[in-house]
Symmetry: C2
Subunit: 330 residues, 2 copies
């Protein structure tokens, strides 16, 4: 008899409440990367952290904050979910490099350098061209390396992604995306990027968001798990995890905020369209935070060994973050 799997989800943005936390626990999840930022400025990010502080106080039997990865192991032993913070944009640091260390101290373990658009640091995947990492971006990568804040390039352009991997002296993540060979989408990643990510010791979190799947919500579990196998073949078993991109119970206004922030006076539909502006449905085998056992079962069915499934479902994230969030000794 083995110990149960340690499941870590490399990205979620639920409309967090008791029911979501209960589903996560029912789904066997011990750690979840919770997005706290899409376009939030420094001050607004503090609001989001304040809201999480209140949740930790309100649901002490269900969740615990994660300051280091031992907190995820503790959460598992306690039957709770460890929550760690990430930003999908560099907006929290605004124009100030000193804010990197400050937000790391406040528990922001992961930060994307861009969210779809050009940022002060790098280029997002929706811009027409990508000239790579900016002058400020190079400084910030060095600083993130120093303080142990993980660089995430999920929503970045291809050249910026490759340059971030190259410039960073520590491995980075693509926390929630799929390979381009699985489904052709701006948000999915080329083999070149995935190889470079793996070669540098980085980690890919595979997404279950319908826009990242062939056939959208009609993508089957077997097709998905076959993609997992192909990705493992490409990158190696140590470099593949899960980052479901679940955005459970979010109203359509949230999607509009994610896509438009404050940058446009006309509506941008991102991965959607004027005809289909709303959230896509999730595939039937992954509708919510309780459905991780379906994924585990699918991987068993696809022929993965138990130790491989353990890596994919959480051990890779745990090992990666243990190392990557340690401040650099200098």
């Amino acid at each position: 008899m083995h110990e149960s799997l340690t499941v870590v989800d490399g990205l979620q943005y639920a409309n967090w409440d008791r029911s979501i936390f209960e589903q996560l626990i029912a789904g066997g999840v011990s750690g979840v990367h919770a997005t706290i930022v899409y376009h939030e400025t420094c001050r607004e990010t503090l609001l989001r952290i304040g809201e999480w502080n209140r949740r930790f106080e309100a649901y002490p039997e269900l969740i615990r904050p994660v300051n280091d990865m031992d907190d995820i192991r503790r959460a598992k032993a306690e039957g709770r979910v460890g929550v760690f913070f990430g930003a999908q944009n560099c907006s929290p640091i605004e124009d100030d490099i000193d804010l990197v260390a400050i937000f790391r101290r406040l528990g922001l373990l992961i930060m994307q350098l861009t969210y779809n658009n050009q940022s002060l640091l790098a280029t997002g995947c929706y811009e027409a061209e990508d000239p790579g990492i900016t002058r400020f971006g190079r400084e910030v990568i060095r600083e993130m390396n120093r303080v142990g804040m993980v660089i995430d390039m999920s929503h970045s352009g291809r050249r910026s992604t490759l340059e971030a991997i190259d410039i960073s002296t520590r491995p980075i993540v693509i926390s929630h995306a799929n390979p381009l060979f699985f489904h052709d989408a701006k948000r999915n990643k080329s083999e070149q990027e995935l190889r470079a990510l793996a070669d540098s010791g980085g980690l890919l979190g595979l997404s279950t968001y319908a826009m990242h799947l062939p056939g959208g919500d009609r993508c089957t579990l077997a097709e998905y798990c076959d993609m997992v196998a192909r990705t493992v073949d490409l990158m190696g078993i140590e470099h593949v995890g899960v980052g479901t991109d679940l955005c459970q119970n979010q109203p359509s206004e949230t999607l509009t905020w994610m896509r438009n922030g404050r940058w446009s006076r006309t509506l941008d539909f991102g991965e959607g369209s004027a005809a289909q502006p709303d959230w896509p449905s999730q595939p039937s085998w992954f509708r919510g935070a309780g459905d991780y056992p379906n994924l585990t079962a699918g991987l068993v069915e696809r022929g993965f060994e138990r130790h491989e499934i353990a890596r994919i479902m959480g051990e890779n994230w745990l090992d990666f973050l243990t190392e990557a969030t340690r401040p650099q000794s200098s």
Copy 2:
């Protein structure tokens, strides 16, 4: 007997005090574009406007705020200097397109899309590559056109400058730079840019900052006025003005702020170097705000007609801004 020239300086960033205002008046200046922003955020820009409100109260006999160009004509009649605001960076609007209209309402007539580095809107002239105007940048240009806020590309990369000219439906400015043919510097502008600027009805303000001059502060008035003549030949008399880039009485800390903002943990020296980190000396014929008559005399000496000198020294700025700062009827 003619009326005296109407002198308008297309960019200054003095350490403003009574003595500077008195020099401007002694120099015959009726209007000055005062930089209020290098890296200031929205809130910090309000601080700068607040400081100017106090100056307008403290020196009512010397200066007056400019809400429209008639205020410059009034200032001239009163023997005062009309001060209008500009930002050398898009940092005041942060990530919020609605701030364009708000800052226009507060008297910000001119805004650069970038200051040396990549911004959310466009690429600065110190970045290695320039992919042009971003998605957000296109939205902001449309909004600046709508509210009558002038686009300034003085510190931008070449492709961003050309694209801004092209995308904007209204003429733009390069408020303070010189032609590249005069002196090879990242901040000076190619003939292609200057031709496109003139063809679109735009305006160039010629700089007296030593880093933009051949031989630095040893550049002679005759050499400078010869450059003016060549620039007029290239662009046409209607498209050339003055934007001295005078930064009188500023301590070296200000230069460090301009160059580094908050974006770097290591010192960037911009147009200077570790060996020469401080402000360069001004050429002997343009040391301060009282020296405009030297420039006028130099243009006379170079053979310009009076009506041409009037255009270069101020009428072009006045005519341009009268049209360009008018809100678009739609």
